[in-house]
């Protein structure tokens, strides 16, 4: 039993680290503190990793994965977080792609996987609807068969970064005369199709990150349905389990904590660094210990996966604790900056102000705190995750 890396693993880590250092775009350094990233910002780094064969660490080799074992994937994630790179967005790589290579036709695999791998096409997720959030199976967007096409009508919501999307994967209802779960199909929709309209939702932090997607008589080739008609729930469940593992965000939270500790050292409170304040320090220690526990728990899950036990309902624990830790980090950031949480950089920049107010790290503190309230809501709320654990793990 050991936690240390083998010499081979250390060599692997050094290789990753060197590659990032040499290839990460100069203009994207320190993006963590920027408010808005463009489509090109995201894709440029994705393309560099794609060219190297590293944009899809979890994929099987036959579809373009690098063939890494769990520890290597873990190291890779650690190194990306350490370098604070822009993230490779999960919608293509970690969400639709596993569904396509697990359930898709040879044609679908050939058509879509390479473009995802290379970062040529941007994907979005059409799951939630205004009336179907936690109750995902309650969705009502309808797809009616018409020859070789489905005609799709309905409305999706909370569609992250759909304003940039080339393609979207959608859960639609193809049968209403059965249990909700049994009448759902999984469609891939070209976002440039006539009848697709993306409308921004501005969240309380002032960001345009999520959207409504309105579908009006959208023609979707039957060939773009993944898996059998009315069996889309199988794909959805498969995907949810995948989504939950990544959502722990341990590596990113470690980087966040590191920045928070730096901020606490630099922030002066009554003439002394806040890091010396016993109450604040207590909270920092508590957070760090909880994050460490989450990390080891994730490693235990990974070790099980490596032995062939797929991510089960335990991944709900990672989702719950991972989301709460992200929230606590931003909460402590906001507490650390104290009165300087108040100024709204989006507002004063919109008015042409190009000054920064308060200590480094302050301008985004409140907005980030507001923003990550979403982590316990989206991707299956923490209440839903607890229901899942109660049922599937505890057998209640």
């Amino acid at each position: 039993m050991k936690l240390t890396f083998t010499p081979e693993e250390i060599a692997f880590r050094d290789e990753i680290r060197a590659f990032i250092e040499q290839n990460y775009p100069q203009n994207l350094k320190g993006v963590g503190d920027r408010e808005d990233l463009t489509k090109e910002d995201y894709l440029s780094w994705h393309r560099i990793l794609g060219a190297k064969g590293w944009s899809t660490p979890a994929w099987p080799v036959e579809y373009g994965g690098p063939g890494w074992h769990a520890t290597q994937k873990y190291i890779f994630g650690e190194e990306l977080a350490r370098a604070e790179t822009v993230p490779v967005l999960p919608f293509g790589v970690n969400m639709v792609a596993p569904v396509i290579y697990t359930f898709g036709t040879p044609e679908q695999k050939a058509r879509f996987l390479p473009a995802i791998q290379k970062g040529e096409e941007w994907w979005c997720q059409g799951y939630s609807e205004p009336g179907a959030g936690s109750d995902l199976a309650g969705l009502s967007t309808k797809a009616v068969r018409d020859g070789d096409f489905y005609i799709v009508n309905g409305q999706k919501t909370w569609t992250t970064l759909a304003q940039h999307a080339d393609w979207g994967f959608f859960l639609v209802r193809t049968n209403s005369d059965c249990k909700p779960q049994e009448g759902i199909s999984f469609l891939l929709i070209d976002m440039k199709s006539p009848g697709v309209e993306v409308r921004p939702i501005i969240t309380m932090d002032g960001a345009h990150e999520v959207n409504e997607v309105w579908l009006t008589d959208v023609k979707v080739p039957v060939a773009n349905r993944v898996f059998e008609e009315n069996k889309g729930w199988t794909c959805a469940k498969f995907l949810l389990a995948h989504e939950r593992t990544g959502i722990a965000q341990v590596a990113r939270s470690k980087m966040g904590l590191k920045k928070l500790k730096k901020l606490a050292t630099e922030t002066i409170s009554e003439g002394l660094p806040l890091a010396k304040d016993r109450d604040f320090k207590h909270k920092l220690s508590e957070l760090e210990i909880d994050l460490r526990a989450l990390e080891i728990t994730e490693l235990r899950v990974l070790a099980n996966e490596q032995k062939g036990k797929g991510p089960g309902a335990e991944s709900s624990i990672l989702k719950i604790n991972g989301s709460v830790i992200q929230q606590r980090i931003t909460e402590l950031f906001l507490e650390a900056v104290g009165p300087y949480g108040a100024p709204n950089p989006r507002a004063y920049k919109a008015e042409g102000g190009n000054f920064a107010i308060g200590p480094q790290g302050a301008p985004m503190a409140a907005l980030n705190y507001f923003n990550v309230r979403k982590t316990s809501i989206f991707g299956g709320s923490n209440e839903i995750q607890r229901n899942i654990i109660a049922k599937l793990v505890l057998g209640l």
Partner: protein, 377 residues
Amino acid sequence: MDFDFTDEQKMMRDGLSRLIAQKYTFEDRHKAVASKTGWRPDLWAEFAEMGLMMAPLPEEMGGLSGDAIDAMIIMEEFGKGLVIEPYLQSVICAGSLIRNAGNDTQKAELGEKITSGEAIFAPAIYEAEGRFNPAFVATSAKKNGSDYLLNGNKAVVFGGPMSDSFIVSARASGATSDETGISLFVVNKDQTGLTTQNYTTVDGLQASELFLEDVAVSGASVLGEVGGAFAHIEQMRDHAIAAICAEAVGLMTVANAQTIEYAKTRKQFGVPISSFQVLQHAMVNMLIALEEAKSMALLAAIECAGDDAKARAKACAAAKVKIGQSARIIGQNAIQIHGGMGMTNELAISHYFKRLTMIDAQFGNVDYHMRRYGEMD
């Protein structure tokens, strides 16, 4: 023991409540925040006309000789309506400083401006490196003939952009954190050497950074005894805390009501989400948090209206702790129960959440007042 409002207080509360319901809808407020000036001068005039600025201030300032209970009633309604006008700064804070530190002339002249609503004052007490400690005053006041030259910066001055004058704390003697040696100066906005950086806050208010470079103010603008302002500042802070706690109670009352309403109408799995026991208990916890906050806001106001300075300080420290904790429970649960909809700028609930969040860092946060409370033992 008596927890009743007078008939006059009830009338004032009901009138204000009606005014806000009619002329200060969520949409109105949204527009005001996004407007060039970022507030509603027209409503400010109506507040003045209603006598709100006079309500908690003494007769010699042109007021109606009310007290912190009146302030509580008004601030609670302001909280319910998410009101963004600088009543707290001009009437409660500046009003408190002038009442306690001002001489008769100042009380009459400055008081008249405040109670009539024709001018706005903002306290400029805190500094960046002092965080929540009002005794941390690095801004210097150097005697120059009969004038004083002020130099230094003041941090996050709420109401700054719409203020006509600031009440600035500066130090003529002592080390940076000494409680003695601090004086208060009334500084007009157009005074030479004073520059401001104005901004909107994340919760829709207006604030400024103040930069003072050789600002020359006359001896007549000194408020109270030179070097002896700290007790006045402490009293101001307690009154401000009592008032902002009342605002928070108003905010929480609405946040709870909106959350319950949403949970009853929002359906998932074929039933209203209010039928899930876990959410029911979360809403009960929100109710308990609100009731505790109400009790402590009440206690703070009662002690501010009384004359026992030690009991006042203790009650206000305790109230600020409790309000910070309750605001966190209520704000976070309100968003969680609203789900995705709670994350949007479009629903009022997110704005209640934002304001509730930001109140913690005004006049000292939970940890600060917990420590202060412990030290008063």
